[in-house]
């Protein structure tokens, strides 16, 4: 992980902020607006004074003008919980370059951004179940712990995002941002799992990582395709018609996923594992509204 993030790159990352689509309550004071009104510097609203209110918050200027007591309300800045769901099923280890490498890098970058912004970060590894979970940590000193955790997660198993995401319900620490990094090649689907995350008050960012050979397969001839997860074989004769059908099917799959995310208010970005990581972090994701 250290080789991926040099100091210059980390400096660029430091200028980015994770875009939160909803204002959600945090646990500790932080740098993000929370639905709670508190004592930070950002003015939020006025309200009438009632008995028991802290009179230090009375707006005396307003009293001078109106002779009525108003309390001055400020946005309370609290921290954000970022939960990174990293698909590490066997299929993520496929492709040139492997999808899991980009997925781990993205997870690491998001963790860095969150921790640098005084947010909390939790990491969950997904396959057909929730394979591993790092409870929320806070502060820059925890960065190395998170990266180590991400780097040490094993690859393997089938993909079943629905089951894995629902497993998260047992240990969900509260509202926050859920980053799901996966190839989404889950035979049982993933929509139900994402809906469940929203039910857990997570603002979902969905990053689909596919390899170049999945986006535009350069296959020809008679092939026995072996599924890297199940080991099932399928004999095919690759023709122009079949390639066309595959591309059509992939486009349809992407369109359906994008439409689903749009309807549910989720961010969705499809990435190629061969894309420049710097481009993704500094251009693609800000353009998609994931970063600010």
């Amino acid at each position: 992980m250290d080789k991926v993030f040099d100091q210059e790159f980390l400096a660029k990352l430091g200028r980015l902020t994770l875009q939160v689509r909803r204002i959600m309550a945090g646990r500790n004071s932080g740098e993000r607006r929370s639905p709670h009104k508190g004592h930070a510097v950002e003015f939020a609203d006025f309200r009438n004074y009632v008995g028991g209110d802290d009179f230090r918050h009375i707006d005396w200027n307003a009293y001078a003008r109106t002779e009525k007591l108003f309390l001055k309300l400020f946005m309370e800045e609290q921290d954000l919980l970022l939960t990174i769901f990293l698909d590490l099923s066997q299929s993520m280890g496929w492709g040139e370059p492997a999808k899991e490498r980009l997925a781990r890098q993205l997870a690491g970058a998001f963790a860095y951004l969150a921790l640098a912004g005084f947010d909390r970060v939790a990491v969950a590894a997904c396959a057909d179940r929730l394979q591993g979970y790092l409870p929320p940590v806070r502060g820059r000193p925890s960065l190395q712990q998170v990266w180590d955790f991400i780097a040490g997660l094993p690859l393997g198993g089938l993909t079943d995002l629905n089951t894995a995401l629902k497993d998260f319900g047992r240990c969900a620490p509260g509202p926050g941002v859920a980053l799901v990094v996966s190839d989404l090649l889950s035979p049982h689907g993933f929509q139900e799992g994402l809906k469940y995350l929203q039910y857990l008050k997570q603002d979902v960012i969905l990053l689909q990582v596919l390899s170049p050979d999945e986006l535009a397969p350069a296959l020809h001839g008679h092939l026995r395709l072996v599924d890297s997860e199940t080991g099932d074989a399928r004999e095919i004769t690759v023709t122009a018609g079949l390639l066309k059908a595959y591309r059509r099917r992939l486009e349809e799959f992407t369109r359906e996923t994008r439409a689903f995310c749009y309807r549910r208010g989720m961010a969705f970005v499809q990435l190629g594992s061969n894309e420049s990581f710097e481009d993704i972090i500094l251009r693609t994701l800000p353009r998609a509204g994931v970063f600010r």
């Binding site: 993520m92 190839d183 997860e229 399928r234 079949l242 059509r248």
Partner: protein
């Protein structure tokens, strides 16, 4: 192993194609993919839109293929000859055609063939049977399924070589009917291979062997000799063919009525033909003969004959009050000179006409010639007229008749016609709903045709078929048009039509004494010997001489080079020594095998494989 019906293997075309697809089954290259999830869906899309699917390894498929293969094999009827069958039937076909007179094999090809057949008779086993068939233009069974060697040798000795052409197809048809029941037979054909082509497919369920007779092709023949009058000149054409493979020099002599007129040298290259013309032969010449001076292995076709046309028009008398249609139509009959008179001027003494045409009237006593009667009156001595029919919209032929050749009766309509009763001597030619409209027949010693209607009451004279019908009837009613007919060896007999009142016919065959024939006259004359046949018909003091010619030279029999038989159906046939074999067919075993396989396939299907 041989096949009776190899054409059935066309059905097997599908089987190797299917097998080939299996043989060519691609060798799949194994590659790992992240997930087959999207591929499965893409394949489903393709398969849903395609009517075809890839063949898969399937036990049922193999069993069905095997059953189909066995059925195709059974349809092809494979067999293998079995040696030494004790009840064999040998059919020996002896070619008796003209080319078998060739002397390249001494004493002649025919005698050599006869000797071989005699040897086969001597070699017959105790329970063997032999059928002897002579092959000419028609097959002649000399001996049928006989075990008696003496009888067979006698039948063989009776066989004679002819000047006919050999026709293989009738022989094969005859053999097919002979072996249909038993199938156990072998056929040996002793021939030089010169036969008429086999036009219809004939297959024999037995092996056929050709013992080819003859060695050389050295023969020069006069294949055509034709003559005709051109004004005052007599023109003659002779076509000489060299069927050999070497250049030959010969001379051709031309004789007119037996007198030598001209000799010309000829040089012919290998398989070359030349035409020779004579243009100024004596006007009175009747018979012409051409001869080749060079001897060769077939002398039969070194001579040819022709007869010069003798135009002697026949006379016909039209007795009518006026019938321009019939006058015009009769004028078109070749060789017929038409005279006219009215019923009032007709006299019984008007004799000497070959044909009398009575229109709407008949005399009390019929004249001696042939008669064409139009619209006969109610009371007449020729044919009963029972009444009238009106409004005939459609005329139909009473049957197939050469007199209706090229006559189209479509559109013929009649306003009225006499209701003729068909007499015992006649037959209807045209009819309307079973009532004869035109009758023909032989009444006494004369030929008679009756039109039961007045041509003026019909649209028939305006139809194209009318002059053709009158022409056909004219040729039939005025015989003698065969005079000078030249037969070029394609028939062994010719019909004899005598003139009315003929008392005697004198027939002079080539090189023989004149033969006198009294009534009843034979209907045909055999023309076996090549040459000129003179036929003299004696009627009172009148002698009418006609000539017929038979020539032996023709492209089929004169080309004496030994050939293979022009027959593709020689199933299991070969050339060489005769071997008496029968055939063991395998189709039944194959059909049983196919049935067994289908039963197994059914069982496999039931078990759900």
């Amino acid at each position: 192993m041989h096949l009776f019906n190899p054409a059935a293997f066309w059905f097997a075309v599908t089987i190797p194609i299917i097998i080939l697809m299996y043989l060519l089954k691609p060798r799949y290259r194994e590659i790992s993919v992240s997930s087959t999830y999207l591929w499965e869906q893409a394949l489903k899309d393709i398969e849903a839109n395609s009517p075809w699917q890839r063949l898969k390894k399937n036990l049922l498929l193999f069993l069905q293929l095997l059953a189909a293969l066995l059925l195709v094999l059974a349809l092809s009827r494979p067999y293998f000859p079995v040696l030494g069958d004790i009840d064999s039937h040998v059919i020996v076909v002896l070619d008796c055609s003209a080319s078998m007179m060739a002397t390249d094999v001494l004493p002649s090809r025919f005698e050599a063939a006869r000797r071989q057949a005699g040897q086969m008779i001597d070699d017959l086993g105790g329970r063997d049977e032999m059928t002897l068939i002579g092959m000419g233009e028609r097959p002649v069974v000399l001996a049928s399924r006989s075990r008696d060697r003496v009888q067979l040798q006698q039948a063989l000795a009776r066989a004679r070589v002819t000047t006919e052409r050999a026709a293989l197809e009738p022989v094969l048809t005859l053999i097919a009917s002979l072996v249909r029941d038993t199938g156990k037979a072998s056929v040996i054909i002793l021939s030089d291979g010169h036969t008429l082509p086999v036009e219809n497919e004939v297959r024999l369920a037995c092996p056929v062997e050709l013992h080819r007779i003859g060695k050389k092709s050295d023969n020069v023949a006069i294949t055509t000799l034709a003559t005709r009058r051109e004004g005052a000149r007599v023109v003659t054409l002779a076509r000489v063919d060299n069927f050999g493979n070497e250049t030959v020099e010969t001379g051709i002599e031309l004789l007119a009525d037996g007198h030598l007129l001209d000799v010309r040298p000829l040089r012919l290259g290998p398989r070359e033909a030349k035409d020779v013309f004579w243009e100024d032969l004596p006007r009175q010449t009747v018979t012409i003969e051409a001869r080749l001076t060079r001897p060769d292995i077939l002398s039969l076709d070194n001579r040819a004959w022709a007869v010069v046309d003798r135009v002697e028009p026949r006379q016909a008398l039209l007795v009518s009050s006026g019938n321009v249609f019939m006058e015009r139509a009769m004028a078109l009959v070749p060789g017929l000179q038409l005279f006219k008179t009215t019923p009032g001027n007709y006299d019984q003494e008007m004799k000497g006409y070959s044909l009398y045409v009575f229109d709407g009237w008949l005399p009390a006593q019929l004249p001696p010639g042939n008669i064409l009667c139009l619209n006969p009156p109610r009371e007449n001595i020729l044919v009963p007229v029972l009444g009238m029919i009106n409004g005939i919209e459609r005329v139909s032929p009473a049957g197939e008749d050469p007199l209706l050749k090229y006559v189209d009766v479509d559109g013929w309509q009649l306003a009225r016609a006499g209701r003729l009763a068909c007499p015992a001597w006649g037959r209807p030619l045209l009819e309307y709903k079973g009532v004869p409209l035109v009758l023909v027949g032989e009444h006494g010693n004369r030929r008679v045709a009756v039109f039961g209607f007045d041509l003026h009451d019909t649209n028939i004279p305006l139809q194209t078929g009318f002059p053709i019908l009158v022409n056909n009837l004219g040729a039939w009613l005025v015989p003698g048009v065969e005079e000078g007919m030249v037969l070029t060896g394609n028939g062994e007999s010719v019909g004899l039509r005598s003139l009315p009142g003929t008392e005697e016919i004198c027939l002079a065959r080539p090189g023989q004494e004149e033969e006198k024939i009294r009534p009843p006259f034979p209907r045909t004359i055999s023309l076996q010997e090549p040459g000129v046949y003179r036929i003299t018909q004696v009627t009172g003091s009148q002698r009418i001489v006609s000539y017929l010619v038979r020539n032996a030279g023709n492209a089929l029999e004169s080309d004496v080079k030994p050939y293979k038989l022009p027959w593709k159906g020689m199933v299991g046939g070969r050339e060489g020594e005769a071997g008496r074999k029968t055939n063991q067919e395998l189709w039944m075993w194959l059909a049983w095998g196919a049935l067994l396989i289908l039963l197994v396939e059914w069982g496999v299907y039931r078990r759900g494989y």
